[in-house]
Symmetry: C2
Subunit: 727 residues, 2 copies
Amino acid sequence: MDKLWTLQQTSFSPLKLQHNETVFMQGNGYMGTRGAFEERYPGEERTTFVHGVFDDVPIVFTELVNFPDWLNIEIILAGERFCMTDGQLLEFGRSLDLRNGLLNRKVLWRSPKGLTTSLEFKRFVSFTDVHLTCMQVTIIAQDYNGTLEIRSGLNANTDNLNYKHWEWLGQGFEDQTIWLKLKTKSTKIVAGMAERLQIVGETALESDFWDVTGCPTLRLKTTLTAGHPLQIEKVAAIFTSRDVNDPLEMAKNKLAALPKAAWDELWNPHVLCWEENWNKSDVIIEGDEKAQLALRFNLYNLLIAASRYDEHVNIGAKTLSGYGYRGHSFWDTEIFILPYFTFTQPDIARNLLSYRYHNLPGAREKAQANGFEGAQFPWESAGSGREVTPTWVPNPDDPTKLIRIWTGDIQIHISADIAFAIWQYWIVSGDDDFMVKRGAEIILDTARFWVSRAEWNQEKERYEFNKVIGPDENHDHVNNNAYTNYLVHWHLQLAVQLVKWLKKHDPLAATRLFALLELNENDIDQFKKIAEKIYRPFDADTKLVEQFDGYFALQYIDLKALEGRKESIQGMLGIEKTNQTQILKQPDVIMLMNLFPDEFDLDVIRKNYQFYTERTDLTYGSSLGPSIQSIVASRLQMVDQAYAYFLQAAFTDIDNLRGNAEDGIHAASAGGLWQTVVFGFAGLRYENDGWSLNPQLPPTWKRLAFKFRWRGEEIKVDLRPERYAET
Amino acid sequence: MDKLWTLQQTSFSPLKLQHNETVFMQGNGYMGTRGAFEERYPGEERTTFVHGVFDDVPIVFTELVNFPDWLNIEIILAGERFCMTDGQLLEFGRSLDLRNGLLNRKVLWRSPKGLTTSLEFKRFVSFTDVHLTCMQVTIIAQDYNGTLEIRSGLNANTDNLNYKHWEWLGQGFEDQTIWLKLKTKSTKIVAGMAERLQIVGETALESDFWDVTGCPTLRLKTTLTAGHPLQIEKVAAIFTSRDVNDPLEMAKNKLAALPKAAWDELWNPHVLCWEENWNKSDVIIEGDEKAQLALRFNLYNLLIAASRYDEHVNIGAKTLSGYGYRGHSFWDTEIFILPYFTFTQPDIARNLLSYRYHNLPGAREKAQANGFEGAQFPWESAGSGREVTPTWVPNPDDPTKLIRIWTGDIQIHISADIAFAIWQYWIVSGDDDFMVKRGAEIILDTARFWVSRAEWNQEKERYEFNKVIGPDENHDHVNNNAYTNYLVHWHLQLAVQLVKWLKKHDPLAATRLFALLELNENDIDQFKKIAEKIYRPFDADTKLVEQFDGYFALQYIDLKALEGRKESIQGMLGIEKTNQTQILKQPDVIMLMNLFPDEFDLDVIRKNYQFYTERTDLTYGSSLGPSIQSIVASRLQMVDQAYAYFLQAAFTDIDNLRGNAEDGIHAASAGGLWQTVVFGFAGLRYENDGWSLNPQLPPTWKRLAFKFRWRGEEIKVDLRPERYAET
């Protein structure tokens, strides 16, 4: 077992079921399954989500649908049901091999009647054949002979936090394979599932099909002989009508085409595929084993979250790993997660940006509904690309009262964030084809949204963006959020440059795009004119950028005095009160300086970093904070601080630092973590002209190595600080 | 088959499943089961609700929990599953015998492969042993010999409109009996269910137990011989932790105590019990068969809705018959439904009023939370007696927008309605014991609420009730709703009289009650003083009572011009706009005159009836309207109009006149219907001094006969209009 690659759990804790389910997550970019145990336990939250399979639900509008569970298997040993909370758990160990996503559990269990059995469970979600999962259980009766009974079913009654999304359409049994056909209630997505269960190398003494509607179940019986290992294998297939015309037929055929014992056939290409992924996307740290493992854990979670095939899905704020945010995507993708793929697997980045391209109709609809022009991307986006931010949610303290969620209405910076990510992808990949065919349309139509959204302040002779929410969500309905205004300024300038480039690079495409968007030269002039006159707050005396109009006048709160708290400042003070303080949920001005390091002198960055850091709730505010703090600290040569924030991001989920890891992986934090290493410690900078490195590694790191792709070329970075060169 | 007692359905309509489920409802005052078929069909809404078993749910706060279905049985005939939408349905008939609640279905079915089978299904919910249900299926293969397979399970995954309330606790199988143990997720009510399935007089050739977690299923196999009837019997038992300490044990024991073939043992006392109920509570109409049957249908639904045993449950606006209003109770009980029980089965009325007594803590909590004193009853009430009116519900046209429901905040008249019902019960039953022990406490503590809620208008020197909703819910936040003000006036006067009576009748009880409620003589003086000065709108010139301040100035809309519409005026115009018109959802001033006929001259009643009737949306407004219109029309000797409104109330559910019968029985309309006959056509009036009759029957009615109880004595009314005396 390689400590640098293996996440381990050495004791079973019934009270931490849900946290460990998040940590022992498996997936392949098509589906994701939480690390629930094969047998069921009260208080678990077992889910399997498939990308793009959303369905309507009250309050949060739409959510990823929990699929019938392919994990469940009930093991009855000489009449006693295996359950780790009954009898005695003599040995327990679980590990997730990040190299290949293999989840392994070894248990030595003494039953209530005193019979001892060793059980080993292994399972993986195929990375090559993404519709397939495979599981093996090896059972050895230690001190008895007796019957072994195995039950495994597919449950159409699976729910999402008590809410049922599936309509049962049919089920059956053929050739040791049970199948189930289902449809989501509102979105009418059909799913076909099949699973095959067998005792490897043996024929079961008895084999029953329990044809209970909604729960087709297969039961096998055989005999256990003391000391003689018995192996069970289960393979399952999932297809939906988003993938193929007849998902059930495909699922059945997929299993029928597998050899009788399928593990090896599925495992070998799966491992190769993982190797290939890590070869492109790994980051090696030497001298800091904890950091190495935690970083890989986060990268693993990004690699299993991104679809390789489907341009119509994105990555949710919690990937496919839990109910948090119900699978909705935010700017987290473009600003936090995408750089990892843009730099290491640009094909995936292109896919994710194409999701935004395909969802331009939803963005246009949103702009129009709000009385604006062009395309306004939704703050939360799911299957349809329409705005799916909940508008009102029950107040947890008094459900008769509701809380208004404003982000879907006024957190407008996401449209510029998407433009930024497209630009970044273009610069790094050199993929002109994408820019011509998809990127430019997004950048120009969102630019047009800014034109219609900008407000002219006659008195001050400037354009403003009022009543917005910036990255810092502790303050809503603010005027002239610095991040938003600077970003729009940059976005409109980019649009102007892009039009120039496009006309030169592909005049026909430029003409077509102008016609499609009904753009003319006046519009481009308008972009330029507005960009010039957008108000970008900056105080030349103090060198501070005021986060929004009036921020400096808000109440100061000494966060140090509140250390040891276990909840966010917003949770402690309430929404209204927090709005009136300077406390930030996450970096806002610092985020701006992170995205545009060349726009600000180091001295300006340092002053703002110092000013805003002590005002930011970095422990229980947004999990998007620490990674950004780390990168900027690295730039300021404050490597100790940078490393402390790196650790905070790295262990967010493994150590459940924020107390909500059960809701799923903090994906933006995971993406930000890669940036702390590559943009922060390695100091990678990029521009039109090329890239550069300016490394400053944490003291204990003996080596930092990674690869990235620059315009089609693979770049290998291998940094070994001089201080260790002699050892 | 007695046409005057039997509801019939002669054709199977897959598109009207839900309407017919409501119409063929069965129950026994403990549980209620919709008339779903034994085999499942897409689009059905099969529910079994048990009184008092509520659980938390988003938006509507709490709802009756749908129980695992005791109906389901799957019949596989020579390998083909019986399903009326497959093959050919050669004959179909269904009937509900209102005399005893027996539901019967006869089917002649030709399978897709051409085999013909006759099936008869009979079932009832025991009226004597309220935890038990019983079902028989008689199967005759017409033209083949083959296997018969029967499957029947208990499904813990049962949901309420997609929302799951049950946590599975355990299941098993013993002696041909399967069992299931469950718990509601929030309210932690444990349910134990057991069911026994057998082939009557035979041993099955095969008998399997399918131990699928959450769906324990029993399967029997035997052989069908052409022409030879085979009978299946299923009995099921339901207990909950609201009833007994160990509900599962009770359910199992209950079945174990039954003889092998249990139908007759359960059926005979059940029929006697029904006879007894009808003997007390039937109403006989001769000369109008449709009216007779429809009236009995409505009375049947009241008889199966009321608990005989449990003082902690009420009757929901849709009884136990559907999801409408989620089992919540309103003033519908006290003003519409209760009179039927008060006059024919006062024990049930006492039970229902005791529900309010037991829920005084919730009413006091509500008053206090709103800054008032005493007890303010919730507009919607469920298990806990706390206010459970939804505050915000999604706008069906745009779920990102919400609609604020104000009735829970300001539809305050319910506290006086409850006082009215207690007074009515007391007058009619003469049950001083109830008044002393329970009624007086409610009346006085709600009176104290009125004192704190009344607002003194200095300028006009009167007490007012402002910002309220009256019975007519088309207008909210109105000032001085006539119904509310008159009723509070009456309520406070009653309180004063009641104190006098109590001091005389039971001085010790009076002293105790004063101490308990911390009342003193000043408070009683205050009741009197405020009662005298409450503003009760009346215009001596026009003789009109203005429904609320400013009503007359609202926009008049000619409802006649909108005849043929298929939705309510509120649905057509929207809430805001309707608020600005004179259109009423239901009678308000006329409702007042219905409750207090002696307070108003006939001329005043007539003028107000004429004025308000043409402004009331009686077709698609509230189903509470027609019965009240009918009673008042009878008093005004307008028997044709009274009869037309009677028919409208009588056929509300049978003919689905309002297009929403699928949500459940319109219970207030059913209760109001009894009042149209007894208070309307028979002209029954009652006061402290006694009762009187002033009949005027619809022209076709040859006889109207009913019984009621007056202070312990049974009164038989048998009216045969003179015009028919000679025939």
